[in-house]
């Protein structure tokens, strides 16, 4: 026996498990409610003639119930699938609810609009990529920090870098930039000594060398070794053998940078860390001379 008014009286004034009273108003949790508000006209229980729209995985259905099926809760609701197109869906609603109360039809159409918008929004959001928040166990974090600290100590970074740079210097990557392995340098001086002592002059050559040195010095002001050398050169400007020696070294250096290319590659290959710059450096040197 269906009696709307009695039901409504009970629901509203005694108890309804779908009702939720919050500070902003009284709402209804019943999934069949069209508006979500708890009042007489939109209560799905207290209206024997009622319609609503529900969403099943992105497909909207129009639900209708009439008093004729009130005694058969099993097939109380008549369900019509609404087309995906909004306007067509409106048409279908209009056709099915032709003689229904105008207010209810209006509310259903409003609900359709709202749900379509929601569906669009949901799909858009689903396409968006989101950052996923990962956890890092505190234990692991601490352990890694500890190990990192120890690894840094074991690495002795400054020492290893210095060693590496010296190895590169020895391999002749910096040929033409530094005249630093003084040992070889001075060996050549010693061999040239006797010849050099006899000869004089060649001022023009001297000037060329000095100019070149200054060019090199432009960007490395701190390079003490070079500077010292330069100064010494200045002071003994009239000392012939010194100049002679410089020339000799110059020549030696040039020849080295030229012939280095193939040999270096062979030398480099067995090393474990990869250094590709080398041959290029030699080329560059050639270009600058």
């Amino acid at each position: 026996m269906q009696h709307d008014e009695v039901i409504w009286q009970v629901i509203r004034h005694k108890h309804c498990s779908f009702m939720s009273k919050i500070s902003t108003g009284i709402f209804c949790r019943n999934p069949y409610n069209v508006t979500g508000i708890c009042n007489r006209s939109s209560c799905p229980l207290a209206n024997s003639r009622y319609a609503t729209i529900r969403d099943h995985d992105g497909v909207f259905y129009l639900y209708m119930k009439t008093i004729e099926r009130a005694h058969k809760p099993n097939d109380l609701w008549e369900r019509v699938k609404l087309p995906r197109n909004y306007e067509k869906a409106l048409e279908v609603i209009g056709k099915h609810l032709m003689y229904w109360p105008k207010l209810l039809v209006h509310k259903i159409k409003q609900r359709l609009t709202k749900m379509t918008q929601m569906r669009i929004r949901m799909r858009k959001l689903a396409l968006k990529t989101r950052e996923k928040i990962m956890t890092t166990p505190r234990k692991e974090k601490k352990r890694e920090a500890r190990r990192e600290e120890k690894a840094e100590k074991a690495a002795v970074l400054d020492k290893t870098i210095e060693k590496e740079l010296l190895a590169r210097l020895e391999n002749g990557i910096y040929d033409g930039i530094y005249n630093l392995p003084f040992n070889k340098f001075i060996e050549t001086l010693d061999t040239d000594e006797l010849q050099a002592e006899d000869e004089n002059e060649e001022e023009s050559e001297v000037e060329y060398v000095e100019g070149n040195f200054e060019l090199e010095e432009e960007d490395d002001i701190e390079d003490m070794g070079m500077k010292n050398y330069h100064i010494s050169n200045d002071e003994v400007a009239d000392d012939d053998d010194e100049e002679e020696e410089v020339n000799a070294v110059k020549v030696r250096r040039r020849s080295k940078s030229e012939k280095d290319e193939p040999g270096k590659k062979l030398k480099k290959k067995p090393r474990i860390h990869v250094e590709v710059e080398h041959e290029n450096g030699a080329e560059r040197q050639k270009a600058t001379f």
Binding site: I177, N228, E277, G281, R284
Partner: protein, 354 residues
């Protein structure tokens, strides 16, 4: 347990010292273990005594060794070989992918990999640096320093673009790599390096970041092309990571700039450092030779001169740890991972992957 160990030790000692004495000691020790004493004061006293004994023994051993060495030297004999301390590095678990220098397969693989075009100088590296979506405080300053370290790097604001879109964009603009600096709680905590167009994607954990201004006596880098030092990348995976890092930098360093960028791998941590350097002669008698001009004096000075490199740190300092290496560009869902760090790999502290 402790008692047992002591036993073993003293047995080892028997060789050089008189065995009777040791045996006595051993018996004593086994009689009073500190843990068996219930009174706390007594127990600590026993413990202290034991400790002291151990110390004395150790010192004795050391002294004996030194004396033996000295004696050997005097007699002109071969001294006993120096003991090498066992470190984690030299007791590392054997890894079959550690590359030997004559690994033909590796070199063939290197020629065919994604970076070879850059490393052979067919393409010049051009780097796009961007961030995660939210970026603040230390992030931008870190990026500005990265820009000064890596030549030909460009910073683009992330905006709300997807990383895949950015990859596409960078491909069109002919970038060779993308670096994404990920920030968490206002602190850069991860680095994503993507090789382009089809290079791998490496995800690093970034830690202990120190910016330039926080480094004492830091220098300011010049705009010369830096040289690169890649240390200790031994395994296959290590080589690959090394090449990935190498492809970020131009392959024609300007040695006159005296800038060196180091990626040093130690126990799977990759330490990044950026230095200026200078070669100097230590203990140089330059002034001497300069003043005198005498050839003999010069000859003497040769022997004592030693070239050393001096370093001045500039630019940021940070540590990377590889989390994952992905084949192809960034794709978290469909991507194929070459290597992922998993917690079950952490079962031994002597197993390293790079």
């Amino acid at each position: 347990m402790g008692g047992k160990r002591k036993k073993g030790e003293s047995e080892g000692m028997e060789g050089d010292n008189d065995s009777k004495n040791n045996n006595k000691k051993m018996k004593q020790k086994s009689e009073i273990l500190p843990s068996s004493v219930k009174n706390k004061e007594k127990r600590s006293a026993v413990h202290a005594k034991l400790k002291h004994q151990k110390k004395v023994e150790k010192r004795k051993k050391l002294k004996a060794r030194d004396a033996a060495e000295k004696r050997a030297l005097e007699l002109g004999e071969e001294p006993a070989p120096k003991q090498i301390p066992r470190t984690i590095e030299n007791t590392r678990e054997a890894d079959e992918t550690v590359c030997m220098p004559d690994d033909e397969e590796l070199f063939a693989g290197n020629d065919a990999d994604e970076f070879s075009s850059i490393l052979k100088r067919d393409r010049t590296p051009k780097i796009l640096i961007t961030t995660c979506r939210f970026n603040s405080t230390r992030g931008p300053s870190f990026i500005s320093e990265l820009l000064s370290v890596i030549p030909n790097a460009h910073y683009n604001k992330r905006g709300t673009y997807d990383l895949k879109k950015i990859v596409e964009y960078a491909n069109n603009k002919e970038f060779t790599s993308i670096i994404v600096v990920h920030t968490n709680r206002r602190e850069p905590d991860a680095l994503l390096i993507i090789g382009l167009p089809d290079g791998p994607t490496a995800h690093f954990k970034l830690s202990s970041l120190v910016l330039r201004k926080d480094i004492k006596n830091h220098g300011n880098p010049t705009s010369h092309m830096p040289e690169l030092v890649l240390n200790n990348f031994t395994t296959r995976l290590g080589h690959r990571i090394g090449r990935l890092i190498q492809s970020l930098f131009p392959q024609d360093p300007n040695f006159r700039g005296r800038r060196v960028v180091t990626f040093h791998n130690q126990r799977d941590f990759i330490f990044f450092r950026h230095h200026r350097y200078v070669f100097e002669t230590k203990e140089s008698k330059q002034s001497d030779s300069k003043g005198k001009k005498a050839k003999d004096a010069k000859g003497e000075s040769i022997a004592k001169e030693k070239v050393v490199a001096r370093l001045q740190e500039c630019g940021p300092r940070f540590t990377l740890k590889l989390v994952s290496l992905q084949h192809g560009t960034f794709d978290t869902k469909g991507g194929e991972y070459e290597w992922v760090h998993k917690p079950e790999m952490d079962t031994s502290r002597r197993r390293f992957f790079l």
